[in-house]
């Protein structure tokens, strides 16, 4: 247990989330809920994707489950999984002292800046399927990457203004460090309940499905179906349902990729197709809201 110097109490996984939510609530963030469609990163939540566009302020924090079939390891790897949780913060516009505020959020978890080594190492972020990119850092805590810190520059292929800051805390990394466990499966969720009990079986089955069992033809077919539906309803101005279908396409693409079903150029092609959908949604949103593009 490392985070006990300040709080004097053991931090369960649920406590880490609760402290972060408390903290960001005090910083003026709305504490949101995860979105109910599979996604590869918290950024894909429509409340981040769309709200990063346009001039209005937006401040929100939420836990988002992420699915990355390619990163699955059958539960064998101590810190790599195909299904996990991000704690996501979006601040637009960010305060000038946003880095200090972020460090304070770690102190809330009992990670003192004097007692530990907190570093900002250049890492620029990009999501080709969202047509999004940003500049920033990975944050190191005593040598371990715990957070991605990004100043968004582009979203849905649109240069954004004002820019937002996105913070993505890796909850499992952070908690296993705070609890001093070597393996995410040993993380204590709440008294008497471990991460492994809850998610190990899902990780094993998910790995087998993604790497070995998924029906490639069916996935391709569904991709095309969803793509067409997304395009069709976008013409009608329904950018939110159209975006839902874009997310579904993105997940199907991830599965096909993990399954090793895509050649290099096919892969590029699928990415471009998803990007086409998300760009279309972003544009429609801006047009309907009267934002300049």
């Amino acid at each position: 247990m490392r985070g006990d110097e300040v709080l004097g109490a053991f931090l369960y996984f649920q406590d880490v989330i609760e402290h972060l939510e408390e903290f960001w609530k005090e910083q003026g963030c709305y504490i949101g809920e995860p979105y109910d469609i599979e996604k590869g990163a918290g950024t894909m939540n429509p409340l981040t994707f769309f709200r990063a566009l346009g001039p209005e302020p937006w401040n929100m924090a939420y836990v988002e489950p992420c699915r990355r079939p390619q990163d699955a390891r059958y539960g064998d790897n101590p810190n790599r999984m195909g299904y996990y949780f991000q704690f996501q913060v979006i601040k637009k516009p960010p305060p000038d002292n946003i880095i200090e505020v972020f460090i304070n959020s770690l102190e809330r978890l009992g990670i003192s800046r004097v007692e530990h080594d907190i570093r900002f190492v250049e890492d620029n972020w990009e999501s080709p399927t969202l047509g999004a990119s940003g500049l920033g850092w990975e944050v190191w805590l005593d040598g371990m990457e715990i957070t991605q810190f990004t100043y968004f520059q582009e979203m849905g292929g649109i240069e954004i203004q004002p820019i937002s800051v996105e913070l993505t805390y890796g909850l499992e990394r952070l908690t296993s460090y705070i609890q001093d466990v070597d393996n995410v499966w040993d993380i204590q969720m709440s008294p008497g309940l471990t991460y492994g009990e809850m998610f190990l079986e899902q990780e094993k089955q998910g790995s087998r499905y993604g790497f070995e069992v998924a029906d490639i033809d069916l996935l391709r077919r569904h991709f095309t179906d969803y793509e067409q539906e997304s395009k069709r309803i976008l013409k009608d101005g329904l950018f939110l349902p159209a975006y839902d279908y874009a997310l579904k396409c993105s997940h199907l693409f991830n599965l096909l990729d993990a399954r090793g079903a895509l050649s290099v150029s096919e892969r590029q092609n699928y990415i471009a197709r998803v990007r086409g959908l998300t760009r279309g949604c972003a544009r429609k949103y801006c047009n309907l809201r009267g934002f300049e593009v």
Binding site: D96, E115, D117, R119, G143, Y151, Q153
Partner: protein, 703 residues
């Protein structure tokens, strides 16, 4: 005139390490130029930096810029004065613009008439008037390779600027930077002194900021890290791996470096050294610790940003924890990888594409087997050696689908060599696999002479051939596939190891093989001849670079390449032979002989000189000399006796002069004329196969 010291501190979010050292240099250079342009004087300008601040310090900066008077040309006299000699509107306007009276002008004669000149006096300004404008431009005009855009006005800089301090002596100078106005308020280290602090004066800045936990001098931080690393490593009788790039990087990742030593379990030492070093060096920015025999010891030096005392145990344990997780991963990969013989992975390569769609790595392997065997034969290797080359090529790409290389791509080749060795493959073959990607950069070591060098050439030449068949263009900084580095590799290995490989034949073979791959991918098939030529020019430009780096003048490098000798490993000896007679009469004899024969000799490409058509004594003498000496000349040339060969050419001068001075080459008799031209052509060939001497003309004083 008074002087004071100037301090400028630009505070920002963490600047990426790779930009920091260039930025420290640039801010000083830009400031010196701007201060000089503003006619200010000073003693010394220095600059420093940490991830969170760039600092400029100028000593004894003058408090005013100097006055100057500029002479300005006005209208012509005719325009300036009317017929009565009174000033016109034009002259009055000119004087008004300079702020002078019409009686203050002078008239000066020029080639096309007389002109009016006026003197404009520019008085100096106070330094505090000048600085806000120029310092803002110095900072905001810096070259940021990948700028971040932020704020209401879309400012662009490395990272957002958060504060600025600008003091001239004790006086605050307000400089506007990205919407921020400088003052005297700064901030200390994030962990040791996160609060703001006031800087009383420029010269007190360094003491105040040091007390706030910031080692602002990057050279000092570098020294703290390097000395600390050495003494910590000594505690376990080792020394830190020497690595200037890593030292620069960690210097640029902290404001207050505190090196510490961590440990890992000796159990991990059965991993290959390269794996241990790569994990520590590239993934964690640690200095590995080596013993005297260059073996990795079970420890590492990390550098923390912050206190050397408080919480050091947390930091050490945390870093050890992270490293253990990574080494655990690596051990797992290593054990898994070793379960499969390297050669069994060949089929898996069918699933990995090469350069987009130009076939797979399996296809590339097949091409490498053929190409490297061809190059081995060309270079005169024995049958046994060629079998080894083929074996190495066969296994060369198999490590790319191992878990370890997928996780640590820096180890491509190295892991293949390692796995091959452990699995009982011949040592020479294992070494060739390990060295196939050498040299990785301009200053990297070459693969060893022998079969290693051959496989390394084949790998690069194949990549080049396929890329050129695909029509990939290299220009300026546009070289995503690293083709320039590959071409340098080919040139450097062949020249340094002296492989007697004919570049034309090697390229032709590689392009035929590469072209098949490209056709399989149904990509546009460029004309083969034009691909061959482009690729040859590309590689020859690297050969030229090799020769000039060896110290030969560029003209000599161009001259020997211009000889058309495509067995490029011979070019250094040819360049040396010419270089060694620079400034001698011998060179003048050779160049003159070439010049006199080449002009007329180039009028025909035929060389069948008929002896019976030679009638004058001098042309007979020249012909018989060439006929008698041809065998000797050929032998000297083939045996690389280029110095002796040049001596022979020099000795021809008299015969050539005699012939051209006394025989009318362009005689009216067509048969005689053609024959004489052919003779001169044959003689000039003896010269041009050694060099294109037109590049050497400047060295003989003739242009």
């Amino acid at each position: 005139m008074m002087t004071h010291n100037l301090l400028l501190e630009v505070g920002s979010d963490e600047i990426p390490a790779r930009y920091l050292l260039p930025a420290i240099e640039e801010i000083r250079v830009r400031a010196e130029k701007a201060l000089a342009d503003a006619r200010l004087t000073w003693s010394e300008a220095t600059s420093y930096g940490t991830p969170r601040r760039l600092v400029l310090y100028v000593t004894d900066l003058s408090d005013r810029s100097s006055d100057i008077t500029v002479k300005v040309r006005g209208p012509s006299r005719k325009v300036a004065y009317d017929s009565e000699g009174m000033p016109t509107k034009a002259l009055q306007g000119f004087c008004r613009s300079l702020g002078i009276d019409v009686s203050d002008v002078v008239i000066e004669p020029e080639a096309n008439g007389e002109y009016v000149y006026g003197f404009k006096h520019e008085p100096g300004q106070t330094v505090t008037e000048i600085l806000p404008t120029i310092l803002s431009e110095v900072v905001m005009g810096m070259d940021c390779p990948h700028p971040l855009r932020w704020g209401e006005k879309n400012w662009r800089w490395f990272r957002p600027i958060r504060w600025a301090v600008c003091l001239y002596g004790e006086e605050e100078v307000p400089v506007e930077l990205a919407g921020i106005t400088s003052g005297r308020t700064s901030y200390g280290s994030r962990s040791l002194h996160p609060e703001s602090l006031e800087i009383p004066s420029a010269s007190e800045y360094f003491d105040v900021i040091a007390r706030a936990g910031v080692v602002v001098d990057h050279n000092r931080r570098r020294q703290i890290i390097s000395e600390g690393a050495c003494s910590l490593a000594k505690e376990i009788s080792g020394r830190p791996l020497e690595d200037e790039g890593l030292l620069d990087e960690v210097t640029c990742l902290c404001e207050h470096p505190a090196p510490f030593r961590g440990e890992f379990s000796p159990d991990y030492l059965n991993l290959p050294q390269e794996v241990l070093i790569t994990v520590m060096r590239y993934h964690q920015r640690y200095f590995p610790i080596l013993d005297d025999a260059m073996n990795v010891l079970p420890g590492f030096i990390g550098v923390r940003d912050g206190s050397p005392n408080i919480g050091m145990d947390n930091v050490r344990k945390g870093n050890e924890w992270v490293l253990r997780a990574r080494l655990d991963d690596a051990s797992f990969f290593y054990d898994q990888d070793l379960k499969v013989p390297l050669g069994d992975r060949l089929d898996e390569l069918k699933r990995v594409f090469f350069l987009g769609e130009a076939g797979t790595l399996y296809d590339k392997t097949q091409r490498l087997i053929e190409l490297s065997a061809f190059l081995g034969e060309e270079a005169g290797f024995s049958y046994e050696q060629i079998e080894k080359i083929k074996m190495a090529a066969h296994l060369s790409k198999c490590d790319l689908v191992t878990l370890m290389v997928r996780e640590l791509p820096e180890l491509e080749g190295i892991m293949g060599g390692h796995y091959a060795r452990v699995q009982g493959v011949d040592e020479e073959v294992a070494k060739a696999i390990a060295q196939q990607y050498l040299p990785r950069g301009a200053s990297d070591e070459l693969p060893e002479k022998g079969i290693s060098g051959i496989l390394a050439i084949a790998d690069k030449l194949d990549t080049l051939a396929v890329a050129f068949c695909l029509g990939v263009e290299v220009s300026g900084s546009q070289d995503p596939l690293g083709l320039r580095r590959a071409a340098s590799g080919v040139a450097n290995i062949i020249l340094a190891h002296g492989y007697d490989i004919d570049l034309d034949r090697a390229i032709e073979k590689a392009v035929v093989l590469g072209g098949q791959a490209v056709r399989i991918a149904e990509k546009a098939d460029e004309d083969v001849d034009s691909v061959n030529l482009k690729l040859k020019r590309f590689i020859l430009s690297r050969v030229e670079a090799y020769l000039t780096e060896k110290g030969y003048p560029a003209e000599i490098a161009k001259a020997v390449i211009g000889s058309g000798e495509t067995r490029i490993s011979r070019l250094p000896a040819m360049a040396e032979a010419i270089y060694s007679i620079l400034g001698t009469d011998m060179l003048i004899d050779v160049v003159t002989g070439w010049r006199r024969t080449a002009v007329l000799g180039s009028k025909s490409s035929e060389r069948d000189v008929r002896g019976e058509l030679l009638v004058e004594e001098p042309e007979k003498a020249l012909f018989s000399w060439v006929s008698e000496r041809r065998e000797t000349l050929d032998r000297l040339f083939e045996d690389r006796e280029y110095a002796l060969y040049l001596e022979e050419l020099a000795s021809l001068r008299m015969l050539i002069d005699d012939c051209l001075d006394h025989v009318l080459i362009m005689t009216e008799d067509e048969e005689l004329r053609e024959n004489r031209i052919k003779l001169l052509g044959a003689v000039s060939d003896l010269f041009t196969r050694m060099a294109d001497f037109s590049y050497i003309l400047p060295f003989t004083g003739k242009m």
